[in-house]
Amino acid sequence: MKAIEFRDVTFSYGEGAPAVNHLNFSAEEGEFVAVLGHNGSGKSTLARLADGLLTADGGEIRVFGNPVSEKTLSDIRKDVGIVFQNPDSQAVASLVEDDVAFGAENIGLPREEIGRRIGFALRAVGMEPYRTATISRLSGGQKQRVAIAGVLALKPRIMILDESTSMLDPRGRREIAEVVKRLHREEKITVLFITHFMEEALLADRAVVMNRGEIVMEGAPAEIFGRHEELLTYNLALPRIGVICKRLREGGIAAADTLGIEELAKEIAECVS
């Protein structure tokens, strides 16, 4: 079943070129899709449309088969959770548990159930020891994990991360990547991972590249990274490991485009020995 489906969707913010232009896109249930694209390519607009924060000018968006509209909005938002970019402007409350409770309170769950969901969500992101901590004292990575927990408390079936790692240090980025991978594996959540760190696309089963509101490339991350020249025309730089592979080939070492560091190391070792 398709978790999310965009059919010929167009959206523009007032005058000017549309931010999303006759876009066709879908993600299967349980899939992990990376969405790449340079600044202003329309990634956030895609995320906002999927959650009904914006309404499409044309075309149709379906979430688990249900069209996104004013009437279905509250159900759609239970199914689709979004984690945003800025760790400091997503939390409503000052304490971790109060903030995680916010979404669950909004949908009118009974107290006991909210308590259970806080426990579940904080366990899932590894923040259980911080249940009564003050959010403003946490690290960036921890704040984003709390934001993920706040979304998880609504038990979404789809989770969209809109550049949620872009304001974090490498360690924070790793924390988030691990949590999301685990949620995808264990909770079977469909993930749309929007990022401009090309390496992070490696987490995904499939990657799409956006440019000017359209999807211009699509495929397995390794395959996409193989198309260096094409990526450059969309203002996307290769991840470092991709550059290394390319240089190796230019230097006469037959390194296939691989993305795992271990695999590359093994290949180099074979070539050298």
């Binding site: 979004i82 945003f84 409503v92 916010f102 979404g103 909004n106 949908i107 009118g108 909210i114 706040g150």
Partner: protein
């Protein structure tokens, strides 16, 4: 620099007073203020002071902290006291010079005033020392609930308060950062004429406002995305509950406050 301003100055220990229902503490503060203003004699203030001392002991707040809260208003209080000592007038004159006159009545009256003001300040800061901003807003929301009947947006008001409290440390950090950035570009914020300094604040204020608006926008989206749709149908995870602790404290305090009020009308040692 600005980080040192600990807003609300909550003092995190676990104590009898910390665990009291915030609604009760708010009502108590109001009752206490009213009682102090009704008080007409030292005995009443003595009872109030004893009550407060007891509360401080039970709250496990160190004396230094309590005194610090008084320090902020010390100048104001002493100034008021001085004026009253010299201008109050009265029968028993100790010293006089022109229209200035130090009298027994003036001294007593000033002392009375000082004690009264100190009690007020200490009692208010006791509330913020022992109650987190969050439970304070919860308490206010709960106390204002009857206003929902006249369609007063109680839930929204409480949410606004708690969001504001949450964003204070963030905006303080941001102000620090912007000031740092402007200084690095050669802005001079600490010297010059007052007019110059005010003008120097503008390049700090504008980015701060812009970023606050952007944050508000982002927060709004994050709230919508988490199914926020106003106070209707909403449940609360943290319920305020009136417990035996509150009952004991209530009986004790109600008795003493009543005593203070009674003393007003049947004074024992009138000033």
């Amino acid at each position: 620099m600005l980080k040192d301003v600990s807003f609300g100055q909550y003092y995190p220990v676990s104590s009898f007073v910390h665990r009291l229902d915030p609604r009760f503490k708010i009502v108590f503060l109001i009752a206490f203020i009213v009682a102090i203003f009704l008080a007409k004699e030292f005995l009443a203030l003595g009872i109030a002071a004893a009550l407060l001392l007891l509360a401080i002991l039970f709250a496990r707040i160190p004396a230094g902290k309590v005194l610090r809260s008084v320090r902020g208003v010390l100048f104001l209080v002493l100034f008021t006291a001085a004026i009253n000592i010299f201008f109050h007038g009265g029968e028993t004159v100790y010293w006089s010079y022109g229209i200035l006159q130090v009298t027994k009545e003036g001294i007593l009256f000033s002392a009375f005033l000082v004690i009264r003001l100190f009690l007020l300040v200490v009692c208010s800061s006791l509330l913020t020392y022992t109650t987190t901003p969050v439970s304070l807003t919860d308490g206010i929301e709960s106390l204002l609930t009857p206003l929902k009947w006249v369609h007063f947006p109680v839930h929204e008001l409480a949410l606004i308060m708690s969001i504001a409290l949450r964003f204070i440390p963030i905006l303080m950090d941001e102000t620090d950062r912007i000031i740092g950035a402007q200084k690095a570009r050669g802005a001079n914020l600490d010297s010059g004429s007052p007019a110059k300094r005010i003008r120097a604040i503008v390049p700090v204020l504008i980015p701060l406002l812009l970023s606050a608006f952007r944050r508000a926008d982002e927060l709004g989206d994050a709230m919508d995305a988490r199914c926020y749709s106003g106070g209707k149908k909403r449940t609360k995870y943290k319920k305020l509950r009136f417990t035996w602790r509150d009952l004991i404290a209530f009986l004790l305090i109600a008795g003493l406050v009543a005593g203070i009020v009674v003393l007003r009308y049947f004074p024992v040692f009138p000033v």
